[in-house]
Amino acid sequence: MGVEAPRIARKVKAGQFLVLRVAEGGERIPLTFSDWSAEEGWIRFIFMRVGKTTHELSHLEVGDSIADVAGPLGQPTHVGDLGRVAVVGGGVGAAVAYSVARAMAEAGDEVTVILGARTADLLVLEEELRALPIKELVVMTDDGSVGRGGLVTAPLKELCESGAIDNAFAVGPAIMMKFCAATTAEFDVPTIVSLNPIMVDGTGMCGACRVTVGGETKFGCVDGPDFDGHAVNFEELLTRQRIYTDDERVADAEYSRGCQCQV
């Protein structure tokens, strides 16, 4: 989805995110930028319809406005001296993977992108990625409906084994990042992960986003979202992401009563 937001568009760097609220009474949800144009004053992000807020977003039409968009938030991804780097993007993490891969390539890094999705329909940004000056794009789907069948960790492991990468960057579902980090750890390939903890303000004011990295508590929104994948406590992140699972079901049920679509 694209939004006109010239002040934000002027400032975004790859790896940063925004917080938006669709309407009055809405939740503040963090989403990552996939693309933007400082000159034309727009930003773009990708989301999957999973709950009420993303459903509402998907019902907006061209010309509608969004109550609040705050950003860019978080620290930009470090690029430029990574040498040969694998960028792994799973699911909607593809959005970040795309902008990060582009920034890395522009900064002179040699980028291999591994793009993963459950199935062909959920694969996004493949064309855009192919248009980037990167070394290679490997497409993976769980069910093999397009590209290679299997998980993103398979090609990542091959790259590590053949000594073809100096660094790795992974973004996607926490469980995917966990396995990517575990894969590269075996080969001592430094790996940055872009975490997606639950957030409220996104400005360091509440601590909802806390994650444990190397035994220390960090705030995902201001200290991150990028962290050393080998030091992140993924079990904790996975547990914390489930705090509101029951509430989300309630909200979705409440919402679908008033909405024609299936949640």
Binding site: R7, I8, K11, R21, G25, G26, E27, R28, K52, T53, A67, D68, V69, A70, G71, P72, L73, V200, D201, T203, G204, M205, C206, G207, A208, R210, V211, T212, T217, F219, V222, E236, T239, R240, R242, I243, Y244, D247, E248, V250, A251, E254, Y255
Partner: protein
């Protein structure tokens, strides 16, 4: 008028103070109010206000004024209440305090003006705070045209950016606008007000009051830009850079960022599900309206047994909020005793009435859990030792005194710090060891044209101190601008 001999008091009939006891605040019953978020204290009626004002001795040398951090002319505004001149009373308040309806509700009067009241010696000071609230509410109840609005000075042509819309920022903006400057407030959240909006709950400070005060500012020409995190979308340097260089061209900047970063204790189990910072818990409920879930979209985990760690206003607010969300048991865990609690007396009293249990002289050493969720606390007993710098006796652990407390939610209200975002907003500004901004008495920072005030300078303090600092800085900014920006 300054320099002129005082009016002859003989012109007016002499004030005969009433000897009635302090007029109680009309309040809703604890059982009723603990289930909803409506305001607890209903406010004085006109008769209550007059009866209470009549108790004032109208001292020749009033001591209460020195007890007020912003030196409101208390004797004078109470005098106006006695005479029924409400609007004049409001004008006296507004000379010093931009937000009387707010401060009348949340100031710790028992440590300030009311402690300095002559009648306090007999234990029954004039209820100055309640009278202030009465006038503040009177003003807000008027149509916007007939409210007490300060006259605006002619436009100076200067533009000032105020960062943060808490009490410090609002007071600075109001004063700067009055002095003739064009003011823009930048606020990172989607609603203005700072702690007044996201922290202090509706039952203590209705958001309609905060919104009405903010509306007044906008009427005075202050522009408020929400969703703008300074440090991320723009730095202070960029705010002040001329537009030819891609900056926003503000002539001066006021930083009222607050001390918003919640502190945790660093004990095991703090990241378990069910552990909240008070900021997160209160933000979800107040700002995001989680009490109205699922009509509002933001959820909050509603515990059955809730432990709140701390003893300040924040802890009281969190505990009373948890109760209102339906918790069966809510208790405060505080390492000193009730006497040392920094919370306003009234809040402590209300919390007790609402059935909040106080577990004093203990401190958590661990939060225990199962499958990622909180199941309880391990607390250590404390004893009071020697008095520390603040004059309070500091707590000391009693060795081997650990005991378990069962709970499913833990809310940490153990303080806040400066948000390190400041470093991204203004990397060159000098700060203290603890990350707060260093300023002179007027609020000037080490960077010319950049002023600061409120919690970001003092550390977590009070609404009135933040407001006072905002107003003081506004005057200093005015002088700095008009004197031709020394150093620029």
């Amino acid at each position: 008028m300054p320099g002129v001999a005082e009016n002859q008091p003989a012109e007016k009939p002499r004030h005969k103070p009433s000897r009635a006891p302090r007029t109680p605040m009309p309040e809703r019953e604890a059982a009723e109010r603990a289930t909803d978020f409506d305001e607890v204290a209903i406010g004085y009626s006109q008769d209550d206000a007059i009866a209470e004002a009549m108790r004032c001795l109208q001292c020749r040398n009033p001591t209460c004024i020195d007890g007020c951090p912003v030196n409101i002319d208390i004797k004078s505004f109470i005098g106006h209440i006695i005479e029924g001149n409400w609007a004049d009373g409001v004008a006296v308040l507004k000379e010093r305090n931009a937000l009387p309806a707010v401060c009348g509700r949340v100031c710790p009067q028992e440590e300030q003006c009311e402690a300095a009241c002559v009648l306090a010696k007999k234990g029954e000071p004039v209820a100055i705070g309640r009278l202030e609230r009465y006038l503040g509410d009177f003003d807000l109840a008027c149509d916007i045209e007939s409210r007490c609005v300060p006259e605006l000075a002619p436009s100076s042509g200067f533009r000032v950016a105020v960062v943060g819309s808490g009490p410090a920022g609002l007071a600075a903006a109001g004063e700067l606008a009055r002095l003739g400057h064009a003011v823009t407030i930048f606020e990172s959240l989607h609603a203005p007000g700072g702690v007044l909006s996201y922290g202090i709950p509706e039952f203590r400070l209705p958001k309609s009051i905060v919104n009405a005060e903010i509306e007044m500012l906008e009427t005075a020409g202050v522009e408020i830009v929400l969703d703008s995190v300074i440090g991320q979308i723009e730095t202070v340097e960029e705010l002040m850079a001329p537009s030819e260089k891609g900056g926003s061209g503000y002539d001066a900047v006021f930083l009222g960022l607050g001390a918003g970063l919640p502190v945790f204790m660093g004990i095991p189990g703090e990241n378990l599900n069910g552990v909240y910072s008070a900021n997160e818990f209160l933000t979800r409920v107040n700002l995001m309206r989680a009490f109205d879930f699922p009509h509002a979209d933001t959820p909050v985990w509603r515990g059955r047994k809730v432990a709140v760690v701390g003893g300040g206003n924040v802890a009281m607010d969190a505990a009373r909020t948890a109760k209102r969300l339906g918790a069966e048991e809510v208790f405060l865990v505080y390492r000193r005793t009730e006497d040392e609690m920094p919370a306003r007396r009234e809040e402590v009293h209300h919390a007790r009435e609402e059935g909040i249990e106080f577990k004093m002289l203990c401190s958590p050493s661990e939060i225990t859990g199962r499958e990622g969720w909180v199941t309880g606390l391990v607390a250590t007993r404390m004893e009071l030792g020697e008095a520390d710098d603040s004059g309070r006796r500091s707590p000391v652990c009693v060795l081997g005194s650990e005991f378990p407390i069962e709970c499913d939610t833990v809310i940490m209200a153990v303080g806040t710090r400066a948000n390190p975002m400041l470093d991204r907003a203004a990397p060159d500004i000098e700060t203290t060891r603890r990350g707060y901004i260093l300023t002179d008495e007027e609020g000037a920072t080490s960077v010319p044209g950049v002023f600061a005030g409120g919690d970001i300078v003092t550390g977590a303090a009070t609404v009135i101190l933040a407001m006072g600092a905002g107003k003081r800085s506004a005057r200093a900014i005015d002088a700095w601008l008009r004197e031709g920006k020394p150093g620029a």
